[in-house]
């Protein structure tokens, strides 16, 4: 029997992370992500893991990178202000190809904003928050069951692609309690941390060597394979280099490592898109309202479908481009002033009608609001 439990989104995030092999968590209290730290403080010692409450979010991000480079799978969790503070360390993790997971339970911003209210204002920050060209993976579930399932995916991607993975949630998702079926053990694939290099005693481990498929060398535990890690531009050995070709080679490899594997990384869900003339694009907690709205509109005989990106980065562009060829209009429903709308507009070469339902008042977009938007778009299409 699958385990049937009542879980809060934040709790599911912590418990799923432990399932994925996370044994080190460093964090700092912040609404609405605190419950993740609280759950970790309670559960990690019981599995031999370690929780520490650091002096700030900068230290938290630094500590999880240190722990990961030493051999433990690690995670931190925060919200807007803390996520801003972590950006430099996220860049360090990208540069040093350190697998780790950074959870951002989004609240209203900018600045202190609305600590107890929901928002989706950090999706572009997740992509571009740290300085310099870099790729990132960001996963955004839309219900508690998905939180549990996709936090495991986040850890797996971190290991496979040796990259920091941003796990986006929002206040609704973090604080919502739902009855969920936990997946069977056999349904959960967990990518382990490689223990040893298999290299002979005197061989030199090159932690920063990509293979010809542009995959990263799996990270090994610190110890026998002594290696050097630096945020400076470096070669395969990890030591600083500085000729123009060295710099270009590293930056392009880091970019290719994720970009060329986008098709394997991308996750999305579709609902009733086969015959859709109107497409609703929504993610995170808004996707649930959108699902309900689509069902309601179908009852009104409107051919509407839902497209839900789960990986926000890389964005599921290939599939969305296909859908943009078939539909007459797209409604992007999101709790910000047009961040993913911008991403969709870049793909909309055919000039399909783009409607934005953006809400920034701290309240969830309701099914009725999306339904109203669908009805309005439907009548506008008919007028054309």
């Amino acid at each position: 029997m699958r385990e049937f439990v009542l879980l809060q989104g934040d709790e599911a995030c912590a418990l799923g992370a432990i399932k994925a092999g996370c044994r080190f968590f460093a964090g700092y209290p912040i609404t609405p992500a605190t419950e993740i730290a609280e759950t970790m403080a309670k559960e990690l010692p019981k599995v031999g893991g370690t929780f520490i409450q650091m002096e700030d979010e900068i230290a938290s991000a630094a500590a999880i990178i240190g722990a990961s480079l030493s051999g433990e799978k690690s995670m931190t969790a925060t919200s807007g202000p803390g996520f801003s503070l972590m950006q430099e360390a996220i860049g360090y993790a990208a540069m040093t190809e350190t697998p780790t997971v950074i959870v951002n339970v989004q609240r209203g911003g900018p600045s202190t904003g609305m600590p107890t209210k929901t928002a989706q204002g950090d999706v572009m920050q997740a992509r571009w928050g740290t300085h310099g060209d870099h790729q990132i993976i960001a996963i955004y579930p839309s219900n508690v069951e998905e939180v549990y399932k996709y936090i495991v995916t986040a850890f797996n991607y971190a290991e496979l692609y040796r990259t920091p993975v941003i796990f986006l949630m929002d206040e609704i998702l973090g604080h919502m309690r739902e009855s969920v079926y936990l997946p069977y053990e056999s349904e959960m694939m967990v990518v382990p941390r490689t223990g040893e290099t298999g290299l002979a005693e005197d061989d030199i481990f090159h932690p920063f060597e990509g293979d010809d498929q542009m995959m990263a060398t799996p990270l090994v535990k610190m110890g026998k394979s002594r290696f050097h890690v630096s945020g400076l531009v470096h070669d395969e050995s990890g030591f600083p280099v500085g000729t123009p070709s060295d710099v270009s080679r590293l930056l392009r490899r880091l970019d290719n490592k994720i970009r060329l594997h986008s098709d394997e990384i991308v996750i999305y869900d579709e609902f009733m898109t086969e015959d859709a003339e109107i497409l609703v694009l929504a993610y995170g907690s808004v996707a649930r309202s959108a699902m309900k709205a689509v069902k309601m509109a179908r009852e009104d005989k409107i051919n509407v479908g839902l497209f839900k990106p789960v990986t926000i980065w890389p964005f599921p562009s290939t599939r969305l481009r296909q859908l943009l060829k078939k539909v007459s209009a797209v409604i992007v429903a999101e709790m910000n002033l047009g961040q993913i709308l911008f991403e969709v507009s870049r793909l909309n070469k055919r000039g399909v009608k783009l409607e934005h339902l953006g809400k920034v008042d701290g309240e969830l977009i309701t099914p009725q609001e999306i339904l109203d938007s669908i009805s309005r778009v439907k009548s506008e299409i008919m007028d054309l």
Binding site: I52, M54, A59, A62, G66, A67, R226, S230, G231
Partner: protein
């Protein structure tokens, strides 16, 4: 070529180093590997973490597990390393700007936690890498590129900060007192808990040049003639000590470390659960 017993601890293929001729950082690097050698530590079980700055480049030359991390954050990275691998000797090395300004918060909290980290602060009273700006340890009235008319700020006494914050081993020496520096680093490596060893070093290129000590030997002579050993300093009045450097072991106490306490708590959590450790 005669090879020193210490060269095996250095990545000789990474030489020459980036430091200026006559820089004291090399002396501290040697004192560290000398201490490692004398304590017969296993190089595979040593992790050295540094931040950003001249002295932080030391990790590139040391043949251990090494991390050259972010400006000011070395202690926080090292905290993660130590908690993930408690069996490791974790050492943080960095400068006065890295450790006391941008990284000051991490430094004091690691002291407070009695985190089992050996922290070696290379104090040259200036930001060298960026070209000689005043640091939190630049004495008042001294010249730096950002205090061209004399520094108006008060300076930190690193030893006092470490003591007040709860470090359980605190010592200070200078690069001219090599044997003492090696001894303090050895003591720090052996110590269970947060060890802070401040070593005064010469940046004649900036600090010295701006303040009439432009040759390495000028600064080394300054350290030699202006250092008072702690035992003697205790017999002197603050006025007599003035701006002289007081060298010695200020704190050396054995108390429970963060790791000790966490381990106990873990057992408690397991017992409450009635479970077994994975």
């Amino acid at each position: 070529m005669a090879v020193s017993r210490l060269t095996k601890y250095l990545r000789q293929d990474r030489m020459p180093h980036v430091w200026c001729p006559g820089c004291g950082n090399g002396v501290i690097m040697k004192a560290f590997v000398d201490a490692v050698d004398r304590e017969s530590l296993d190089p595979d079980r040593i992790a050295v973490v540094s931040g950003i700055g001249c002295s932080s480049r030391v990790t590139g030359y040391l043949n251990f597990n090494t991390m050259h991390t972010l400006h000011g954050r070395a202690v926080a990275f090292a905290t993660g390393v130590k908690l993930a691998r408690p069996e490791f000797n974790v050492i943080v090395m960095g400068g006065d700007g890295d450790m006391m300004a941008i990284g000051g918060n991490h430094f004091i909290h690691a002291c407070r936690r009695n985190m089992d980290i050996t922290t070696i602060v290379f104090n040259n009273n200036i930001y060298g890498m960026t070209g000689g700006q005043y640091s939190p340890t630049t004495p008042t009235e001294k010249i730096a590129s950002t205090s061209p008319y004399g520094n108006v700020e008060n300076s930190f006494d690193i030893v006092k900060v470490a003591m007040a914050a709860g470090a359980t081993y605190v010592a200070r020496s200078t690069v001219i007192h090599y044997a003492q520096a090696v001894q303090f680093i050895r003591n720090g490596l052996k110590h269970k808990g947060m060890a802070v060893i401040e070593i005064m070093t010469n940046c004649h290129t900036y600090y010295g040049r701006y303040n009439s000590l432009s040759k390495p030997q000028d600064m080394l002579n300054y350290f030699k003639t202006n250092t008072i050993q702690l035992a003697k300093a205790k017999t002197m009045s603050p006025e007599e000590i003035g701006d002289k450097i007081v060298a010695g072991e200020f704190v050396n106490v054995d108390t429970e470390t963060y790791i000790d306490r966490y381990e106990k708590m873990r057992e408690k959590a397991l017992a409450a659960e009635g479970g077994e450790r994975e």
